[in-house]
């Protein structure tokens, strides 16, 4: 327990995990504007393939470790008023910038100056604008349709694996379909 607490406090792990994260993002092509726009224009499905295979691998492992008591989940709280407008605005930025907050860090490492000079400054300005508006949004739209930090198994009141198994299967089938369609 003590060892775990020390590990949780050690921020050095963040650097190592980030290094591998950035290395993989570059190897996947996700640090590139052309690859991200290819996905959003539905011509190149690299980004979706990376995300879905990460989700299925991560989900099975995390739920296995949760079952053994090795890890605790930390799902984000949300509401319809947060996740729908926020998600759509994020999507517009994703398409116009062509990077996201993680891949822009990778794009900077790749030498892309539009990410460093334009995008990075824009993201920081955008977050500051949100922080300035937060007191007005906090008690209004952000609380509409609140569902807290529920996970799908909790929402449906079923065993974890009753969701993990079919979602994994659906993702694998979707990936197989993308491959067979040559996308």
């Amino acid at each position: 327990m003590t060892r775990k607490q020390v590990q949780q406090r050690s921020p050095a792990w963040g650097l190592l995990i980030g290094l591998i994260f950035g290395f993989l993002l570059h190897k996947g092509g996700a640090t590139k504007y052309d690859v991200i726009l290819g996905q959003l224009l539905l011509e190149d499905f690299t980004v979706l393939k990376i995300m879905l295979s990460a989700v299925v691998t991560g989900m099975i492992g995390i739920y296995f470790m949760k079952g053994r008591g090795w890890v605790t989940l930390s799902p984000k709280a949300g509401s319809l008023g947060m996740n729908i407008p926020g998600g759509l605005l994020f999507g517009v930025g994703f398409a116009v910038l062509g990077y996201c907050p993680g891949t822009i860090a990778g794009a900077i490492g790749n030498g892309y100056l539009d990410a460093l000079v334009g995008g990075l400054a824009g993201i920081i300005i955008g977050t500051a604008l949100f922080a300035a508006l937060y007191p007005r949004l906090q008690k209004g739209i952000l609380q509409k349709g609140d569902f807290g930090d529920r996970t799908l198994p909790k929402l449906l009141r079923v065993n974890d694996w009753a969701v993990v198994a079919p979602v994994s299967l659906l993702i694998v089938l979707l990936l197989a379909w993308l491959e067979s369609a040559g996308l």
Binding site: F21, L89, L120
Partner: protein, 172 residues
């Protein structure tokens, strides 16, 4: 070690690698992979430098705190990790205008930077509104089966696809 020098790996190798990385992140740090809060903290620190004390007392910065910590190091690690991979595979180069952008909108660096700035503003604003980004919601949250993350991730792509088609339609 030749595979380390390849420019691109299969998206499945990369995705499975990211999934396994998320196991380790939970195990050793008790935290999911996520990036966007760091940019909000950087913004708070810049405001603090410009406006002095009191910034950390504003409601949003109270909520997230201004310590860069674990996630700040993770974002720095992403820059370095991508740099190492790009360097090893001979793919590191300075570039102002991406190819696909140049074909549609011309090769003016100024135009590209201004549009990237505007896109970044939407992205940063939307990430904070939704409470996460493509890594925090899109990968880490969906793999935990969080309801908020599945809704957000689907909306990221709906907004992104509509805006990308709209934008490229302007190019004719």
């Amino acid at each position: 070690m030749d595979f380390l020098m390849e420019v691109r790996w299969s998206p499945y190798t990369v995705g499975i690698g990211l999934g396994v990385l998320s196991w380790f992140s939970f195990l050793v740090s008790g935290k999911p992979l996520a990036c966007s809060t760091t940019f909000a903290r950087l913004g708070g620190r810049i405001l603090q430098a410009l406006q002095g004390q009191g910034v950390e007392d504003r409601p949003y910065y109270q909520k997230i705190g201004l310590a860069l910590g674990w996630q700040g190091l993770l974002v720095l690690g992403v820059v370095l990790g991508a740099f190492v991979s790009a360097l090893l595979s001979g793919d590191f180069h300075w570039q102002w205008v991406p190819t696909r952008w140049a074909l549609a909108f011309g090769d003016s660096p100024l135009r590209r930077v201004v549009v990237a700035l505007v896109g970044g503003i939407f992205l940063g604003f939307g990430a904070r509104w939704a409470g996460g980004c493509t890594s925090g919601h899109g990968i880490s949250g969906t793999l935990q089966l969080a309801v908020s993350s599945w809704i957000s991730a689907i909306c990221f792509f709906i907004g992104g696809i509509l805006a990308a088609f709209g934008l490229f339609a302007l190019a004719g």
